[in-house]
Amino acid sequence: MIPPSFEYLRPSTIKEAVAMLQKHGDAAKILSGGQSLIPMMKLRLARPEYVIDINRIPGLEYIKEDGGYLAIGGLTREADLEASELVRSRFPIIHDTAGFIADPQVRNMATVGGNLAHGDPANDHPATMLALGAQVVATGPKGTRTISIEDFFLSLFSTALAGDEILTEIRIPLPPGRSGGAYFKLERKVGDFATVGVAAQVTLDDSGICQRAGIGLTNVGGTPIKARKAEDLIRGKPLDAAAIDHAAQIAGQDSEPSSDLRGPADYKKAMVIELTRRALKQAGERARK
C-alpha cells in the first residue's frame, strides 16, 4: 500500500524531461497518468529512485487533425479522448476503446501515451492502434522520431522507446470513406483488464470489397498482437459472414493466451474467434454507413 521512497523531479519542458531521463537512466520512471505506475509502486514491484512528473509540461494534451492524421498528444487523458466529438465521429473504435479502460476516475488521470508506453499487452489502446496502423512519435535528446506501431511492442513491458525517450504523440492516418472499426472487450466485470479484447478496423470499396483490414488482439500474448494472417485473409475479398468467420478462426490461431484467473487458454482462444467475428461485423456495418 505504501510506495518506497524516491526523488521527485518536475520538468517544465520536454527537453528538461529528456535530460533527466538521460541522466538517471534505468533509475528513473516517467510519471504520466500514474494509473499503472503508482499501483505498481504501492505494491513495491516498481521502485524507481527518480520519478519524473511530466504532467506540467505544456503542449502535450491535444486531439486534432493534422495533415491527414489524427494527432493525439501523449499526455491526453482517456476521459478527454472518450468525450472528444472528433474522435467519436471519425474513430468510433477509439471511442469504444477509451470507454473500456478501467473506470471513470482512472480515465480522468490515465493518458493515452502511458497506455501505450507501458508495454502491457493487457492495456486496451495497443490493439486498437495496431488495427489502425498508428504511429508513435518519440522525443529524445536528438529530437523526434516516428515509430510504426507494428514495430513498437517488443516484449512484455518493453517497447521500442529508448531509455531517454518520451512518447509525445500518437498519429493515426485519417481513414478514407467507407471505413469503420470497433473494439470488443470481454471482461469479468467493468473496470477489469480484458479477458480478451479485439480491435478491428476495415475500409471497404464501393462494392463491399475489403481494401484494408487491421486486427489487434488484447491480452492474449506477451505483447499486443497484430493478427496479420487474419488481416491478409479478408483483404481483397467481400467482407461477408464467411470471410469474417474464417478470419476469426485464424486470429484465434494466432493468439497465444495463458490460463489465469480470467479464464483458461482454450476459452480465451475461442473468445478471440468470437470477438473477432463481432468486431469485424460491426466494423463492416460502420463502414457501410
Binding site: 521512497s5 524516491f6 521527485y8 500514474g34 494509473q35 504501492k42 473506470d103 471513470p104
Partner: protein, 157 residues
C-alpha cells in the same frame, strides 16, 4: 530523499505543507489535512472510496502523490455543502436511503458531483456507468441511483 513544499487549495482554502514525494494524496488529505471524510477501502485502485475532485475532475486520491496536487484545487466531501447547507446530492442520499454503513458515501458523492457537473440529466444507465469506479457493499446501488436522480431533479429547478 528531498521533501517537497506544496500548496494546494482545499475546499476553497489555501493549504501548505512539506511532504515526502511518496506521500499518497489520500494520506495527505486524511493524515496531514485531517480531513477524514475521504476513505481508503482497497490497495489496488479498485474501490473509489478515496475519490476527490482535482480541478473539478473525479480522481482516486490513493493513486496520486500529494506533490501532484501542488498548485491545484482539491474538493473533498467536506467541501460539498454550501455555507452549511446540504448539497442536493447529500440530501438525495439521505432522502433515498442511498447509504447504509456510509463508508463508500463520500466517494460516491464526489463522483456523482462531477458526473452531474458534466451531465446534468443523466439516464439511469449513465449514472450506473458513471459510478462504476465506486464500489458499495451495502446498498446494491439501486438507491444510490435514486439519490443521484433526486439531486439531478432538484438541481434542474
Amino acid at each position: 530523499m528531498a521533501k517537497q513544499s506544496i500548496q494546494v487549495k482545499v475546499n476553497g482554502t489555501e493549504r501548505e505543507a512539506t511532504v515526502e514525494p511518496r506521500l499518497l494524496l489520500v494520506h495527505f488529505i486524511r493524515d496531514v489535512l485531517r480531513l477524514t471524510g475521504t476513505h481508503v477501502g482497497c490497495d489496488t485502485t479498485n474501490c473509489g472510496a478515496c475519490t476527490v475532485l482535482l480541478d473539478g475532475r473525479a480522481v482516486k486520491s490513493c493513486t496520486m502523490f500529494a506533490v501532484q496536487a501542488d498548485g491545484r484545487e482539491l474538493m473533498t466531501i467536506e467541501g460539498v455543502a454550501l455555507d452549511g447547507q446540504l448539497h442536493p446530492l447529500q440530501e438525495g442520499f439521505k432522502e433515498e436511503h442511498g447509504l447504509q454503513c456510509g463508508f463508500c458515501t463520500p466517494g460516491m458523492i464526489m463522483t456523482s458531483y462531477a458526473l452531474l457537473g458534466k451531465n446534468p440529466k443523466p439516464s439511469e444507465e449513465e449514472i450506473r456507468w458513471g459510478i462504476s469506479g465506486n464500489l458499495c457493499r451495502c446498498t446494491g446501488y439501486q438507491n444510490i441511483v435514486k439519490a443521484v436522480q433526486y439531486a439531478a431533479a432538484k438541481m434542474a429547478k
